[in-house]
Subunit: 248 residues, 2 copies
């Protein structure tokens, strides 16, 4: 059976990769990915064959991975973070549907909501939503609606793709929507270049976040009413301590 | 400086742990956790000292970890999945606030939304919410409201703690709320005992999920309008293929 792994490599460092992801890459003949991710992995597995396509050619990249696996080479398609969260898992499964002689294995990884969250402390300590601001594949009105309803629901937020060259003001627009529902002093934070050179995290209020110059390597966290800034950390309590106060 | 790691060990197998988590446990003198998680880790690190408290004594457990670290022993508090997602990270940070001579390091891990998602294919391929049905610390009305608004927002859902002995009908109640907004044929799935003995996943409709006998080791996935069942897998497309159709 032809083997195709779709591997979440985590934020970028070898340390944050799971053993299963490491073994899948060790086992592979060919590694297929976006160039930036191939470059992260290449020093760890220098002897593999590497294939890549530019950004926005995700379908071609996934098809390349499927074709390579069908040609009999053990193939690993790599994704930053988790394979399923804005990764290639769903597209690979779509494109390989109905092909019998391929075994697709999805290998999960630490997505930026978790790795960035850990850097910042515990911003996602209670119910949360993960929302991408990229409108390349999703209508902006739908993204706005999701922000609105998540804020109304009191969910913490992990926001992916907060900005890019083409969308310099999207985080500002998102914050303006959130400010209709959340107070300006809502505890927020950003994490950037997680697990890579120039790793960085910073806490701030929602009002400050509105003008924060996020880039495409930044993950943004917006707290709920119970989230607070504690020094350089964000803490969203699960509720153990307030329950004790109530019980006492 | 006294060291306290708060470590997400992933779903339970050594394979799904990150290298950073493994190193933190290797480096620790004492491992503190809930008994079930200690038992998962003990075979991998048999020479450590283990401390535990029963379920519902989370505050005592975190305090024990802090006290152990302050006594000069390198301590690792373990959590299943991720340290921050319904884990002990926020409580440890709350309890150690203002203590100067302790260095708390949060080590992220693969939470059940990701590991269970990978087992099921790609149910979280687009924006999603993570919601716990446990009302031990959260009013049920708030949980209901979050389910309602997430469904209205078209978010996929990963539902944690769908049931327990004390709450056998909570998943049914949740599904009844979701069915006010989502069609009965909405693509859903469950993953149980992920990375452990009797690992198991299954796809089903929302109508079928309503009567599914979930237990406390089950994670539940509810799709959005675009999620579909493909054989034994759940696929939530990001939108690459429909964009191509539009562009063609």
């Amino acid at each position: 059976m032809n083997k195709l792994y779709v591997v979440g490599i985590g934020p970028g460092s070898a340390e944050d990769m799971t053993l299963r992801a490491t073994k899948a890459l060790e086992n592979a003949d060919v590694i297929v990915g976006y160039q930036v991710y191939n470059d992260l992995v290449r020093p760890l597995f220098p002897d593999k064959e590497y294939l890549q396509t530019p950004m926005r050619q995700e379908t071609q990249r996934c098809q390349m991975a499927i074709d390579t696996a069908l040609a009999g080479k053990i193939t690993a398609m790599i994704c930053s973070g988790d394979a399923g969260v804005y990764g290639m898992a769903s597209l690979v499964l779509e494109l390989s549907e109905g092909i019998r002689d391929i075994d697709v294995e999805i290998v999960p990884g630490v997505t930026a909501a978790l790795s960035g969250g850990a850097l910042l402390g515990a911003p996602l300590g209670h119910d949360f939503a993960v929302i991408s601001l990229s409108d390349a594949l999703t209508p902006w009105e739908m993204i706005e609606q999701r922000l609105r309803l998540s804020a109304k629901a009191g969910l913490c937020l992990a926001i992916y793709n907060p900005a890019s060259h083409k969308r310099p003001d999207y985080l500002k627009r998102a914050c303006e929507i959130l400010l209709e529902y959340l107070p300006p002093e809502t505890a927020c934070g950003v994490a950037a270049n997680i697990g890579r050179e120039n790793e960085f995290s910073k806490t701030m209020t929602l009002e400050e976040l509105k003008n924060y110059p996020a880039d495409m390597f930044t993950t943004v966290f917006v707290g709920s009413a119970s989230t607070r800034i504690s020094g350089e950390k964000l803490i969203t309590p699960r509720g153990y301590r307030s329950k004790e106060d109530k019980d006492a």
